[in-house]
């Protein structure tokens, strides 16, 4: 493709030749011919994008706010020079360049290679793709330009941040309710010894207690205490209202951080954690333990986006049969625009569940993006306060989470009934 300069040079060249002919001026003709000759000779040289590109990332799964190092190796595999080309590695606009830059002007000879190294910061959770690589050939004198893309892509998952909330849970009322539950001894996969029983076909040979076999003459196996002492249910509100606030600070972002941190904390304690997200539809991830479950939860949280208006009661009704008796339930919601919140929580508390409501203050989040008159703010705040008080009246522990307060700090402000 011709650049503006190339086009001007061509037009000037032709015009000068024509005017020169009309007024019999050889200077015009020669300048015009020189311009055309310059363009013709430049036309012989052409850049190319027959490049081999490989991209390496320092990590493919990162937490929000982490940095990734990107190494892009470009090799000219053809038998001709690339000429002056600009390489541009397409980075999603949600990622920010932290160190270095994702472009380079190169001119590689046959077989030569070079490397672009840069760091990107990932301030927003989600699934992203780095690439493809844009290649722009620009003539040395900026007369012609040609753009192409090389399909080299790398997928990156940015999980929500996981905050350390262990200390906060120890100091607050929240963990106290699990003290009873943790003493429950039931056989299952775990570390601690539970009892001896007779061998039945299918049991692992590793679990055979050889000393007992020597003593009794019968095959006996060791049974272990089930490590997962309880099933923790996390309900995350991802309705449309949860987008209130800024891109980086809104109910949904705060909620994903809280859900990830709570899940991670209980999974580390070998508990089973289930995640329920509800917005335009309900997504249910059943209770399980271990790192795999942690990965599943984080991946799930990485992909959530605000949409829909599903009421909480519809979710709780649908899951009543699946929630284990006595399981603690975390509800992470701004509690805005859902008239079913109260009956839903009342119903859960009535069935003997410990309900903890972590509620990002949507009024204060809205204040970050728009000006709310003082009087209106006071009224809205009072309404919200009444709603929270009513919920805590049903036996739920309620946390009013302000935008500028850290999760661990917020958890220490548990208001019990």
């Amino acid at each position: 493709m011709w650049t503006r300069k190339g086009t001007i040079l061509l037009a000037s060249g032709v015009s000068l030749i024509l005017i020169g002919m009309m007024i019999s001026n050889f200077q015009f003709i020669i300048i015009g011919l020189t311009f055309i000759a310059f363009l013709s000779i430049n036309g012989w040289v052409d850049g190319h994008s027959e490049l081999e590109i490989s991209r390496e990332l320092s990590a493919y799964n990162v937490y929000k706010g982490d940095k990734i190092m990107v190494d892009l190796t470009i090799t000219n595999k053809s038998y001709k020079r690339t000429q002056q080309i600009e390489i541009f590695d397409n980075v999603p606009h949600e990622m920010k360049l932290h160190f270095g830059i994702n472009k380079m002007k190169i001119n590689l000879g046959p077989g030569q290679s070079t490397k672009i190294s840069y760091f990107v910061r990932c301030p927003l959770r989600g699934y992203y793709t780095i690439g493809p690589v844009s290649v722009r050939y620009r003539n040395v004198f900026n007369l012609f330009v040609n753009e192409s893309k090389i399909d080299s892509r790398s997928d990156v998952t940015v999980f929500p941040q996981v905050r350390d909330i262990e200390e906060a849970l120890l100091k607050s009322d929240v963990p106290n309710m699990y003290t009873g539950a943790t003493t429950l001894k039931t056989p299952g996969p775990g570390m601690e010894f539970y009892s001896l029983r007779e061998y039945i076909p299918g049991d692992s040979f590793r679990s055979i207690n050889w000393k007992a076999f020597a003593r009794t003459g019968e095959l006996m196996v060791n049974e272990k205490t089930r490590d997962a002492v309880t099933d923790v249910f996390i309900f995350l509100d991802i309705r449309d209202v949860s987008r209130i606030g800024t891109v980086l600070k809104n109910s949904l972002e705060m909620g994903t951080i809280a859900a990830a941190s709570v899940a991670s904390h209980f999974l580390k304690r070998r508990d089973s954690v289930a995640l329920v997200t509800y917005g335009s539809k309900m997504d249910y991830l059943g209770p399980e333990t271990g790192d795999k479950q942690n990965f599943k939860i984080l991946s799930n949280l990485a992909s959530v986006s605000a949409s829909g208006s599903m009421p909480l009661q519809a979710v709780t009704n649908a899951l009543t049969s699946r929630i284990s008796r006595g399981s603690p339930i975390f509800i992470i919601s701004s509690l805005e625009g859902d008239g079913t919140t109260l009956p839903a929580i009342r119903s859960l508390a009535g069935r003997g569940h410990e309900v903890i409501v972590l509620s990002p203050s949507s009024i204060d989040l809205e204040r970050l993006v728009s000006r709310i008159p003082r009087l209106s703010y006071e009224v809205l705040k009072l309404e919200r306060q009444n709603r929270l008080t009513a919920i805590s009246g049903y036996g739920a522990k309620v946390i009013d989470w302000m935008p500028d307060v850290e999760l661990s700090q917020a958890l220490m402000q548990v208001k019990g009934s």
Binding site: G20, I29, A37, L39, S78, K80, R81, G100
Partner: protein, 392 residues
């Protein structure tokens, strides 16, 4: 070996270092030299008045709108003494020495302008304000002085008859205008090359083309016949090819030299700016990155090679294109006898421009089409690869 490595790593892409880099300096020096030679060549070709016009002046000072500065300044000095000293205007000097004074002024202006650009915006604003105040004082103080002093001797009066004093700086501005005819593009070009301004470089290039255009129009027979300003027209025939083994005529060479020098001035001046702009756009980390430095050197070196090779080929191609009509005439001459060949020969042998231009355009088409016939880059790539293999 270690010392060499250390030397290499000391190289960065910071602007102060790049401005001392030999490739960048070569671009700037090439551009400057081309600019100065263009000025001299243009002065030789477009700086003369016609014999008739000089004769009409009968020995007194005269001025025609040619690309020459001393004639106009001498003509101006007859009405008032110039404020700028004669040695700086080039009055009383001839040939190249008449350029030295004004060139010195241009260089001084460029150096101070480049220096001021590196300083803060406050200083630039202060200088602009200072210049404005001095100009205002220069305009109004003589006027006020003459008016008040007149009133002191003659009593109260309206200032109308002293308005002439308001134009006291006009002489100075006229001197600048006459200097500017020749040196405005030089000053703009120098400021563009060394002060890194694309706008000024293209402006200088445009100015040269404008001078050539105005000269061509004013010397066009139809116009000069009705309205003669005394400008010496270029010969309407390009003449016999006698240079470089019959490749080009002396006049053709002079004209080609100007257009090639204009291209070198433009392209090398812009190249230096483009590379420095790219380096400036890089973040701090990349400026120290050895890969970026290596590729920057690659790009700059290839640009320098392209400039030399492509400009040389362009000159050669243009010369061949101008001579292509001769080849066609000779070729048609071989096919003597037919009526058609005779007609073609006659039309090509026209002394006017048409035959030459049409044949040159045909030649350019062939040149442009050669990119599809000969795989230049692949050939050079093979050569480069084999050289690298031999080296390793």
């Amino acid at each position: 070996m270690d010392m060499v490595e250390k030397e290499k790593t000391r190289e960065t892409l910071h602007i102060p270092l790049l401005r001392r880099k030999w490739q960048i300096l070569t671009f700037q020096i090439l551009s400057t030299i081309s600019l100065l030679i263009v000025m001299i060549r243009m002065n030789i070709l477009y700086g003369s008045c016609t014999e008739e016009f000089i004769l009409l002046a009968e020995g007194s000072a005269y001025w025609c709108p040619a690309y020459e500065h001393t004639r106009g300044l001498v003509w101006l000095s007859n009405t008032h003494d110039p404020l700028i000293p004669n040695f700086l205007l080039g009055i009383g000097q001839s040939g190249l020495s008449s350029f030295s004074g004004p060139l010195l002024l241009c260089i001084l202006c460029t150096v101070s302008w480049s220096y001021i650009l590196t300083k803060g915006e406050k200083l630039q604003n202060d200088i602009k304000k200072g210049a404005g105040i001095i100009l205002a004082l220069w305009v109004f103080i003589p006027f006020l002085f003459t008016w008040i002093s007149s009133m002191a001797f003659n009593g109260p009066e309206w200032p109308l008859k002293h308005f002439g004093a308001l134009f006291s700086p006009m002489g100075f501005f006229l001197e600048l205008v006459f200097l500017g005819v020749v040196f405005a593009p030089i000053l703009a070009g120098l400021m563009g090359i060394w002060g890194l301004s694309r706008r000024l470089i293209t402006w200088a290039m445009g100015y040269f083309l404008l001078v050539i255009g105005i000269h061509a129009i004013l010397t066009f027979e139809e116009i000069s016949g009705a309205f003669d300003l005394g400008l010496l027209a270029l010969p309407s025939q390009i003449g016999k090819s006698s240079m470089f083994g019959g490749l080009i005529s002396p006049l053709g060479f002079d004209l080609l030299l100007i257009s090639i020098l204009l291209l070198i001035f433009l392209e090398s001046g812009l190249a230096a700016i483009t590379h420095l702009e790219y380096a400036m756009s890089l973040p701090e980390g990349s400026k120290n990155d050895i890969e970026y430095i290596k590729q920057f050197n690659n790009v700059v070196n290839s640009n320098l090679i392209h400039l030399v090779v492509i400009i040389s080929l362009t000159s050669f191609t243009t010369m061949l294109a101008l001579q292509f009509d001769d080849l066609l005439v000779s070729f048609v001459g071989i096919m003597q006898g037919s009526q058609w060949s005779g007609q073609v020969q006659e039309s090509l042998e026209l002394q006017m421009t048409y035959g030459k231009v049409i044949s040159a355009s045909l030649f350019m088409l062939v040149v442009a089409g050669m990119r599809y016939i000969i795989p230049w880059q692949r050939i050079f790539g093979y050569i480069e690869m084999n050289i690298n293999n031999l080296r390793s």
